[in-house]
Symmetry: C2
Subunit: 222 residues, 2 copies
DNA sequence: ACAGTTGGTGACTCAATAGTCATTATCACG
DNA sequence: CGTGATAATGACTATTGAGTCACCAACTGT
């Protein structure tokens, strides 16, 4: 097939772009392209060739900025999750209302940011490839999970201190409160093709369970 | 090109197993070997060569009995989970006591059978490779998940009918009740290397959350 | 303008392994 | 026994894609 194109302005895939040296902009662009590819394909199936194509560069260029595929994934993961987590943390710290409302806020945000966006598929990579590529699970554990867990713990302890939440086994392992969101994320990326369950329905059941499970008294409207 | 079948690689006094024709016994042996390999390595990383070695046969023999790697995985999955699920179902159907105790029984068994054994890693395969190999997620959805969900629904409806459980959003999507076990399984196969959390601790928090979340009145000892 | 620096390239190497198939060994049966 | 049907074999094919590197060209400073 011919590789000449009559119009240089149009940019079909086979158009040969001129080289550009853009040291500053590359990393962010590669990370963004990687995020999209990892989201669509998962870690193992994502091809760096495609990441490069999406970023408008050649494969070799990726290696000027990232050690390996794993390093790229880690950068992509952190680039998205860290700001999100910081945002939630700020919102929690400044929250003036009841712990019930705080928990509602937290879970709602989780569904918006995680389950509702394309971010949930990064979870698949951590589960799928975490065992074989410890870099991945370790980064997630150290830089994300630990932060999320301490945040959750703060919320639960706040509720107990204010006499709103029960203490007990849940307070000993607060992450179980968030488990239905994990389930929702897995459902969406694995079984949605057979039976789609809207995030709102998961959120409603989740809130119902979590609030009754934690509150000293029945929640509003429950 | 004629294939030269040089016999020169004779095992010098090595223990070369003699061939045996065992049409009946092979499938079960291959399934068992596959289960072990999939458990250790996951789907993608499990090598059929190793499955064969474990079963004491050559790789090609696997293909006399199974269409593909996916078909083998499906057979392995069903061979283990189906009896387990049937056992739980029988126990639930015959259960005479309160719904609180029934839920305790169910969750305890899940932790024993799933999280506590090596079975939880099959979950990884479903999550990890389900998107790329629909055979896998479909088999799980149709033959296991649907059964498990209807079982759960029966339990919840029984509790509501007996005036023990609340109706509400949780009853609309009962699978959220089981989510912490999913989290426990994922934790164990992904993060246990960094921080091991005993199943009993997960189970305690899980029961605490689920019972308070579902019961009309506070649970025993809670 | 020009040469030196360095970002950018993509053909190539290398490894891994699912699946095939011509060949060989076993065994049931006459 | 002898032999035909077929279970079993494993060398081989085909494919895929991560990572490399010798070369190329866009920029920079003078």
């Amino acid at each position: 097939m011919t590789r000449k194109s009559q119009k240089e302005e149009t940019q079909p895939a086979d158009q040969k772009r001129p080289r550009r040296r853009r040291k500053e902009a590359r990393p962010a662009e590669i990370v963004e392209a990687g995020l999209l590819e990892f989201s669509e394909k998962g870690f193992a199936a994502a091809r760096l060739e495609d990441v490069a194509a999406r970023a408008g560069i050649a494969k070799g260029t990726i290696y000027r900025y990232f050690e390996s595929k794993e390093a790229l994934f880690e950068a992509a993961l952190l680039s998205r999750v860290t700001p999100m987590l910081d945002g939630v943390e700020a919102a929690v710290d400044a929250f003036p209302g009841s712990s019930e409302d705080l928990l509602r806020l937290l879970l709602t945000r989780i569904y918006e940011d995680m389950v509702g966006s394309d971010l949930h598929v990064l979870l698949r990579v951590i589960i799928a490839d975490g065992a074989r590529f410890p870099t991945i699970s370790e980064a997630y554990y150290r830089r994300i999970l630990s932060k999320g867990r301490s945040l959750l713990r703060r919320i639960v302890e706040r509720g107990i201190a204010r006499g709103e939440f029960r203490s007990g086994a849940v307070a000993d392992l607060p992450m179980v409160v968030v488990a239905p969101a994990l389930m929702a994320a897995i459902w969406r990326m694995t079984f949605a093709r057979y039976e789609s369950i809207p995030p709102e329905r998961f959120l409603a059941a989740h809130l119902d369970l979590a609030l009754h499970g934690l509150l000293e008294r029945a929640p509003r409207g429950g």
